[in-house]
Amino acid sequence: MARLNVNPTRMELSNLKRKLATARRGHKLLKDKRDELMRQFLDIVKNCQLLRLEVEKELQQAYQGFAAASALLPPEMLEQAFLYPKQSVEIDMSFKNVMSVSVPVYEIKTKTDDTADIFPYSFATTPGELDDSVMKLSELLQKLLKLAEMEKTVKLLAQEIEKTRRRVNALEYVMIPQYQETIRYIVMKLDENERGNTTRLMKVKDMMLQQAGYGEG
């Protein structure tokens, strides 16, 4: 691991030690964050997968009714039947905070709550299959919205986990080893200087002793 390009001084050493401590703390926090995000993510993903299967199956059933109706009615008639919808849907979107990721929470607001009152056409001129399908779709709406909410949450969490994982790895495998390596280098360099200094002092002492006539040689 490459060490940082710094001067081997005591000042630099204490700076680096401080940075290493911060990096270690950050690494631990991020690792905890990643683990918790992952736990929640896997929970949601599993539910989401089941819900998707369910929604897909029920949608297929609803489509069958439409296929039957469109076989019985000319396309213009069918279009006319849906020309002016009675029901209207609005979504109240708020954001929930999951480990500092804001994920959407949808709440549905419909104009009429009575499920029997949503048909925008006359029953006399349209086949019964159409009614069944519309009914089924309207029952499905809540689930569809839940699915949207969960899938969006999954995608947003996935993004956050990816980001956190990168940070954790960068700290663990690049930053922290780099700091450790540099700290070791500075300590060794300082120790070496210290030893050099001691030797020099001993030598000077010897020379001074000799000059004063106390030398052995």
Partner: protein, 108 residues
């Protein structure tokens, strides 16, 4: 207040009109992409799009992947399930975990 919308071929998404969702018909990928962008700009929080169309405009859909305000959700059309929605889940897992751990070992 936000709205929900559906993009797809006429036959598949007609019924959603009765529910009061915004319904846009699109037959070509280009139309679908244009509708998608204009709906996203006009306060639609949830946009359902049939898998058949979603498959051909995945780049446009990916633009909204990291936007919390707009959710683009693939749904099957009358022609059946293509498994795109499921695949999206798998790719999200792959992105987060680094490997697709949802896939059962007997699939390839």
């Amino acid at each position: 207040m936000y709205k929900a919308a559906v993009i797809g071929d006429r036959q598949s998404v007609m019924g959603f009109k009765a529910l009061g969702l915004t319904v846009k018909f699109a037959d070509t990928p280009q139309q679908a992409a244009d509708e998608l962008h204009s709906l996203a700009k006009n306060g639609h929080a949830v946009i359902y799009i049939t898998e058949q169309l979603a498959a051909s405009i995945s780049a446009d859909i990916a633009e909204y992947l990291d936007t919390p305000e707009v959710a683009v959700i693939p749904i099957p059309s009358k022609d059946g399930v293509l498994g795109i929605g499921d695949r999206e889940l798998h790719s999200a897992v792959e992105r987060a975990v680094g490997a697709d751990i949802l896939r059962s070992p007997d699939e390839n």
